[in-house]
């Protein structure tokens, strides 16, 4: 039996999520023995048009070229799995969607903006093609990615980890930074997967894994207000890395004051 073929494609992103594979150490060798890696530029495999069983996609869709390319990736892949916040919810670069400032930024930053061909909005992959499974996180981690790979190789749908960070925070014996220090922690609305990394180091979760299931964003926003956060800061807590995830987008925009972009 031939080995399952996989590809890792990069779109608009920082390349950080692909490191979940490259930093896997011994597991990377195990993976190499289990699958046939056809395309993964960062690891030196270049066959963009290869037909594969699983395609991992990092990055959001933010240029006209990428719109075409993601369609080709989809057509060539049995399963398409997004890798991280950019591919799953637009990522940081999708902040420009909030006030349609793409043109202004282009003019302000680039010496010759006429060579920059970007879409007005940076969008998650699911806005363009069907996605079979989404891995959240900025960045994703090796445990999470390899668990999904293993489950896909077994032929089962990967377990979707949707509980709140708080539950893992308590399992890890981290001391709650909201209750003991009044820090504006996003853990109660954020999806687990990171191992409650930030609270374990005494800082507040900033929601890099996106919304958890049944997230009561309004109740958390009221709590943040009670902790003294002005509306603009509440908006920033929700509209940060996963601003295109509907639960965060809606809550963030409720607190997003007019003229926010100019302050």
């Amino acid at each position: 039996m031939s080995k399952p073929r996989i590809a890792v494609h990069k779109f608009s992103s920082c390349d950080g999520c692909q490191l979940a594979f490259l930093n896997a150490g011994e597991d990377l060798l195990t993976l190499g023995a289990l699958v046939d890696i056809r395309h993964f530029l960062e690891a030196g495999f270049a066959e963009e048009g290869a037909e594969v069983d699983i395609a991992f996609v990092e990055g959001s869709i933010s240029t006209p070229d990428e719109v075409e390319r993601i369609r080709r990736v989809r057509a060539n892949s049995r399963h398409l799995v997004t890798l991280g916040a950019c591919a799953t919810a637009g990522g940081l670069q999708a902040l420009r969607n909030l006030d349609d400032s793409n043109e202004d930024w282009k003019q302000a930053i680039y010496a010759q903006p006429e060579f920059i061909h970007t879409l007005a909005h940076a969008e998650p992959v699911h806005a363009h093609v069907k996605v079979d499974f989404e891995l959240w996180g900025c960045p994703v981690n090796g445990r999470q990615v390899l668990a999904a790979v293993r489950q896909l190789l077994f032929g089962v749908a990967p377990l979707d980890e949707r509980d709140k960070v708080c539950m893992e925070c308590k399992r890890q014996h981290a001391v709650c930074v909201m209750v003991t220090q009044g820090k504006p922690c996003m853990g109660p609305v954020t999806r687990t997967g990171c191992g409650a990394l930030c609270p374990r180091f005494g800082r507040d979760c900033y929601a890099c894994f996106g919304p958890a299931e049944n997230a009561n964003t309004a109740a958390l926003a009221r709590r943040l207000e009670g902790l003294g956060l002005p509306p603009v800061d509440i908006a920033r807590r929700f509209l940060f890395i996963n601003s295109q995830a509907p639960a965060f987008r809606e809550e963030g925009l409720r607190h997003y004051p007019p003229g926010f972009a100019d302050d």
């Binding site: 597991d27 289990l34 509980d163 709140k164 708080c166 539950m167 109660p188 009561n216 109740a219």
Partner: protein, 370 residues
């Protein structure tokens, strides 16, 4: 406390050393990250001497005071539960050999026995409930292994938090039973009571003195004072009928507006026992570990049956928490599942107070069975 002996303050180290000498790994209260946690304790100098905990719904702060006492505080986020019902634990492993055969092996904990210093009355009452859950009907091997060796040094409460209400559940502030040794802290040292044969064995290694009438009276008075300080209470010791008569009470929807469905309350609750199990296969697919971890009725997995989430809404989840804890627990274990520690109030990020919710639903005297 009739038979309590006196242990001078400086001699507490001898107790720690005696326990270590008998092969126990000693855990006790220490200050870490702004809270009092049970962690490895070798030196009495690491006890939280001079610290007090100021607790409010959704808020916990440690403050320095000028007392030299080491136990002049109520509690931190966890009691004994994580020592016996571990937050995450391997139950068994399976290995596939070259010929395709599967070999299963149980993961029975092999750690040295633990001695815990500073357990509170509420912790002991909760442990008794956890024992009934994990040992009585079906004996849980992992829990049993952690529990069998556990040596408990209780400390009677003298400084309850504003969130405590163990008087109203009948579980504190005095540690009545379930300990090997129990301490009352006085300025000059400790009164020590023996609760078991193992406790007597350790007590014989200590430089104990006779206690005076004044010392015993002082210790009693401090416990009585701790009871008098409590202001919160549940509207009754058995709210079962009242809760189940009010399954459609509008308060369930109202509390759902405030509740984050985050599971902090069930995670800190010393009696909650729900857990989820999961298989963690190795990447090569040749072995797997079967792991259980704390779950909560506030998670979707808790009520997912064949892909259908039975309690999708927060109101239903909050109702499950309260109707189980204060209601159907009576059917299961003949008493309420609440021992009045107040942890769920303090560690709820939005400060939801179950005594207040219970009063709103069951009426001020729990009579709301209409």
């Amino acid at each position: 406390m009739k038979h309590a002996a006196f242990l001078p303050r400086h001699a507490l180290q001898i107790l720690l050393d005696a326990l270590s000498g008998e092969g126990y790994r000693v855990v006790g209260p220490r200050v870490r990250d702004g809270a009092i946690l049970y962690e490895e304790l070798r030196d009495v100098a690491d006890l939280p001497a001079g610290w007090r905990d100021e607790q409010q719904p959704g808020q916990y702060r440690l403050e320095r005071t000028d007392t030299q006492r080491s136990f002049a505080w109520a509690h931190g986020p966890q009691g004994i539960k994580p020592l016996v019902f571990r937050p995450r634990e391997s139950l068994w492993r399976v290995h596939r050999s070259a010929d395709g055969r599967m070999a299963f092996s149980a993961s029975i904990p092999q750690d040295p026995p633990l001695a815990v210093i500073g357990a509170r009355a509420c912790d002991l009452a909760a442990l008794e409930l956890q024992d009934r859950h994990f040992l009585e009907s079906i004996r849980d091997p992992s829990y049993a292994a952690h529990r069998a060796g556990l040596f408990i040094v209780a400390v009677h409460c003298t400084h309850p938090a504003s969130t405590c209400f163990c008087v109203s559940t009948g579980d504190g502030p005095r540690a009545g039973k379930g300990f090997d040794l129990a301490l009352s802290e006085l300025d000059e040292g400790y009164l020590i009571e023996v609760g078991s044969e193992r406790g007597a064995h350790i007590a014989r290694m200590l430089p104990l003195q006779l206690s005076s009438d004044e010392q015993r009276e002082q210790a009693e008075a401090e416990i009585a004072h701790a009871a008098a300080l409590q202001t919160r209470q549940l509207p009754g010791t058995n709210l079962r009928d009242s809760l189940f008569a009010n399954l459609d009470h509008p308060r369930w929807r109202e509390v759902a507006e405030r509740c984050l469905s985050c599971g902090n309350c069930t995670s800190v609750c010393p009696t909650c026992f729900c857990h989820a199990e999961q298989d963690l296969p190795s990447l090569d697919g040749q072995s797997a570990e079967h792991v259980r971890q704390w779950d909560s009725c506030f998670s979707e997995g808790h009520s997912t049956i064949h892909g259908i989430v039975i309690r999708a809404e927060t109101g239903q989840r909050y109702r499950q928490w309260l109707t189980h804890k204060l209601g159907s627990w009576h059917d299961q274990y003949g008493r309420s599942g609440c021992v009045g520690c107040g942890r769920c109030i303090t560690w709820c990020p939005v400060g939801i107070d179950l005594t207040e919710e219970a009063r709103a639903i069951c009426g001020p005297n729990g009579e709301g069975a209409t």
